[in-house]
């Protein structure tokens, strides 16, 4: 069972990736992408690649989430079309 950690890391990364892809709302996706970054960093360490794990951590913990959230904030700051027909209320 020497490959068990790699196996678990792999399943975790795949689950996180699937969750990140399928969560439609950008804020929720940003959070799950952050967890995906963590899962990938763990998988890389279990696959004996600390350099790649470091770069994934450096990119995935602060840089990408900050960019995504600032984009969401900029996009959300523009109110959706004020046309009266738009009764869907606050859109994510």
């Amino acid at each position: 069972m020497a490959e068990l950690p790699v196996l678990i890391g792999l399943l975790l990364a795949t689950a996180a990736g699937t969750a990140a892809a399928l969560s439609r709302e950008p804020v929720h996706q940003a959070l799950v992408l952050s967890v995906l970054g963590l899962a990938l960093a763990l998988l890389f360490t279990l696959l004996q690649a600390p350099d790649v794990a470091l770069s994934q951590l450096a990119v995935g913990t602060v840089l990408t989430p900050l960019m995504v959230l600032l984009s969401v904030r900029k996009v959300r700051r523009r109110p959706r079309e004020e046309s009266p027909a738009d009764g869907r209320g606050e859109e994510g």
Binding site: D51, L54, A58, V62, L63, L66, L70, R73, K74, P79
Partner: protein
Amino acid sequence: MNKAVRLWVLGVGCAGVAVLFAGAFRRLPEFGGSHHPYGARAVAAALHRHTANVVSSVNFDQRSFDTLGEQAILFGAVLGTVVVLRQAKDERRVPPEPAVVAPTVRGYALVSLPLTLLVGLYVVAHGQLSPGGGFQGGLVVATALHLLYVAVDYRALERLRPVPVFALADAFGDAAYLLLGLAVLVAGASFLGNVLPLGTFNTLASGGIVPLLNAAIGIEVAAAAVVLLAQFLDQALELVPRDGEHR
């Protein structure tokens, strides 16, 4: 095409690609096999050049032309983002609102800022020895600067990190990498060749040109990340449409 057709096309495409993958993955060498000829040659070449971290040796010595292209991508993407997110004619710049920050968060962030900076510099400096290198260390240093945004607010960050200086540092790091290669070429060896004294194995100055290229990439990545985040922070916190109401 409407949604149904698109789903159909996508379904057929994904099924076909899945079959393609299955056929190929079954014929791959088994996972965890011990046959890595290129890897063995790379380890031998790295040890020959007294570089302890073989990945850094591959990145900055054996396949340094890849890293040349890679840092050009980073430089080009940051320049592209600066161009795409520039202030348009119908926008104006407003000072960002001050933020109220809980004292514990402020304290923690201000304490961890120098520590993060130290860790980042450590990772860059030991690039050719322990895991890490110019890319990873540069990003950690850039993140350290943005802890100031988390600790205080964007106005404080803007005062302490003038974007033009970092844009210059970005260009300097990029040019330094190229000038190092050209210097070696002028000195008679081939472009980006590792002709500097190799130093003793597993010491800070070992690896000949690797630590220098590492430092150049570290400067460029740190500056590039700061400029990149500056564009997004400006867009989100400062630029508003000129005609006042949020059109």
